[in-house]
Assembly symmetry: C2
Homo-oligomer: 346 residues x 2
């Protein structure tokens, strides 16, 4: 069961290494074109898993390229026929298949207005690739499982590579090379995850918490859980949680916590105290001993991954966790009910 | 029980009418300053309920002012000390209390960079009001209940007024006057809501669906449900739902559906067919007979509210629904566990 999904999860170190080897030149060329255009801000159109890659871009382009990133509002283009002005923006469409008409509509309009446009897809022959002025291909190999895994981590790495080239930052460029091996190590750390999942086989609702660069990781793990295990898993930054939803935490409420070393986890101790005070059960993905010691269960990640690249690594135990939870519930995560690989929305 | 919350829900028509009467001049003056600055895009910093008002701004500024709206990433300012460039943007901070340090930090940085800044708060003496160059006050009167209601609808109306003045649009300006009475009518339509809520007293998880202008309404109703009833209620646009989370819908799954007449509900029939196919139970807030006929239960709203203003109206039965659900569960929605009125996050 879930053979396809597991195979593609396992392919990630290879796919990431291939992307680094094959796309550096393309990324450099596109970055030069974008720098020459000098965009005032960035707009990203994406859906589902790709939208979580866009959330990563908000942090990496913000922190290192000083670019403000807006997530596009596709219905302004498709329902209301009232697109905003994009002539001074860099507009990026992210889609594994490159098929979604709403994402294509945003890119077409941005290009019509004279903005600079970039498609990030896994299919060079897709409508999205045709619509954009510039293209960067994911080099993930065909993805068969409905739940996206290796295309997501390659989307993140490609955005990280683009940030490096836009900034001309050699130090961060060297750090990119650490990623494939760190993902390999994360896969190796997941041996006990099936046993952990057995404790939650009857749970129907979860919170997934992540902050800073790993805000996207919380969204992506929650999405994998919903797709494969049919649970209601809601992603939150700890800050937003405290502005209301913390009220729903009660005894035994399961909380997935992503907290690797870095600025975003400086005050994770205070968060864990709140969770403990409510009697929540915590499943932690972390490289910090104190976080793991305080959690109900956890997956220990290898230390040393730079915070800005950690989302490419921390999502991996989350993918394994979602699959393990599905198996614990007796579900086939290769065939989520009601989903197709390509979804066409307007 | 829930006397305070109910009182403030009921105060909304009066608070909206007061805002229209008292703030038109201020809004016009601020709009003139913003037009003179000619921002390239808009950034909004907000948390919780105010963040849902920011989601409304994405549609109203996008559709009528051709402005792309980015939701700020506060941790770039507070955790990473790496703020993006905001010198050509309009940056707006929205906060009922005006206290949240992360929202204040975004406004301070934007002002330091020479951008145009605006605070929308209910407290003229707050740090947020002091930080921004321009201020627009909500005129909601003091809000005592922890769950925000009348400050939210006034935030929406103030953003709508600002959009009208930025565009110099007299037709839409006249439509604003319809809002207080439409909200009054919506309150009158909620008589049967306690009975509906009794059917869901044991439900722990919900989806809340809204699209286009009412995407923010789905978020805000879900937040009210989490704050007052401790249920896991996740907001979705129907388009995002079909990209994955639809898998979790099973027989009897409760879905709150916001669908008033307009472009965003053109294909709501197809969505209801999907929901029916999964055996979901639907609670609809709508002014459309066909939507209500197909739903398990519903609240009938008066027709004739322009789509762009409908979020100020459709959230009201959602507030009443959240309160009714809390009462059905035997909870005191005036005192949500673990929440304070003012939350300070960094």
């Amino acid at each position: 069961m879930a053979i396809q999904l597991l195979r593609e999860i396992d392919e990630q170190p290879g796919a990431l290494a291939r992307l680094l080897a094959m796309r550096r030149h393309d990324v450099r060329e596109v970055a030069a074109r974008i720098r020459a255009f000098d965009p005032a801000w960035v707009v990203i159109a994406a859906r589902g898993t790709s939208d979580n890659a866009a959330r990563y871009a908000q942090y990496v382009f913000g922190a290192f390229n000083r670019l403000s990133v807006a997530l596009a509002v596709p219905s302004l283009f498709t329902l209301y026929n009232a697109p905003p002005q994009l002539g001074r923006a860099l507009t990026i469409g992210i889609s594994q298949s490159g098929q979604s008409p709403d994402v294509v509509a945003v890119i077409e309009e941005a290009r019509r207005q004279g903005g600079v446009t970039l498609a990030i897809t896994n299919d060079a022959t897709s409508p999205l690739a045709a619509a954009a002025e510039h293209n960067l291909l994911l080099a993930s190999g065909t993805e068969h499982a409905v739940a996206a895994t290796k295309t997501y981590t390659n989307q993140l790495l490609l955005l990280a590579m683009l940030s490096v080239e836009l900034a001309g930052d050699e130090r961060r460029g060297a750090e990119l090379e650490l990623v494939p091996q760190a993902v390999e190590a994360a896969l190796g750390a997941c041996d006990g995850i099936a046993e952990v999942a057995m404790h939650y086989m009857n749970a129907g609702r979860f919170l997934v918490l992540g902050r800073g660069f790993n805000y996207c990781t919380a969204f992506e793990i929650a999405l994998k859980m919903k797709e494969t295990s049919y649970v209601l898993a809601e992603p939150y930054s700890p800050a937003d949680l405290l502005h209301g939803p913390v009220a729903m935490l009660d005894y035994g409420f399961p909380v997935v916590l992503v907290a690797t070393a870095g600025h975003a986890s400086d005050d994770v101790g205070a968060l864990q105290a709140v969770l403990d005070g409510r009697g929540a059960r915590t499943i932690a993905f972390s490289d910090r001993d104190d976080v793991l010691a305080r959690a109900t269960s956890g997956i220990r990640l290898s230390p040393g991954v730079p915070e800005w690249l950690s989302p490419i690594v921390t999502v991996v135990p989350g993918q394994m966790w979602a699959r393990a939870l599905a198996m614990a519930k007796g579900l086939d995560s290769d065939r989520p009910r009601g989903l197709q690989k390509v979804t066409l929305t307007r």
